[in-house]
């Protein structure tokens, strides 16, 4: 259970840096080589998810929308 918690923390730390563009998957794996095998597929999937939500409201909507 302790190990899971530790891994969850490491995964989250890498995700935080990945999402905010502070680090690449490779940089995170280099920091945690002992977890690389487990981390890599998760971080690659997270990258895919992050890319998939790269959407924005339309310019037309933004132009007319103010409160």
């Amino acid at each position: 259970m302790g190990t899971n918690k530790q891994f969850d923390n490491i995964l989250n730390e890498c995700l935080e840096k990945l999402i905010t563009g502070q680090e690449t998957v490779e940089q995170c794996l280099q920091r945690y080589p002992q977890y690389a095998a487990e981390l890599e597929p998760l971080l690659r999937t997270a990258t895919m998810v992050n890319k998939a939500v790269d959407v924005k409201p339309s310019a037309e909507f933004r132009a007319k929308s103010t409160l």
Partner: protein
Amino acid sequence: MQEELDLVQRARQGEQEAFAQLYESHFDKIFRYVVLKIRNQAEAEDMTQQVFIKAYESIGSYQSQGVPFTAWLFRIAHNQMVDYVRKQSKKQTVPLDESLQIKDDSDVEHEVEVKIEMEKVVLATAKLTKAQREVISLRFAGGLSITEAAKTMRKSEGAIKALQHSAILALRKTLVGGVNGGN
């Protein structure tokens, strides 16, 4: 952070300019959270607008103790989504809206790629549990921190991290077909 607290305080006192600044800084995040769930550009824009109208009407009663403004706003968005999904539950699932606006749309190839990825991710998230799906929406689409996601979902940070882990693992299995699959 302090700046946001000041804005919230001023907005609570009825200062429209302060609320407008909160609107500007959170609109895109709420939009991404909503569009990941309803997959339609126009409906997501309208829904996001509704979230802010509701927030504007209720901000006078917002109490900051223990609940950051972002978490409060996402709870409103979540409740709006619950109502929406309830109304839509009898309708068939609609395909991803092709008019979705990609952030970096300068490159057509990139735009098509993002839309394909989004379709895959949306279908994969449909197989997650409600709580896993919510964590993915809040963290990736909404851009919330673990602390903010925990406050929004009224769970501990440890629980959110565990849900995040299991959700990504499940997404991996669906998207790639195995935890050790290449990419």
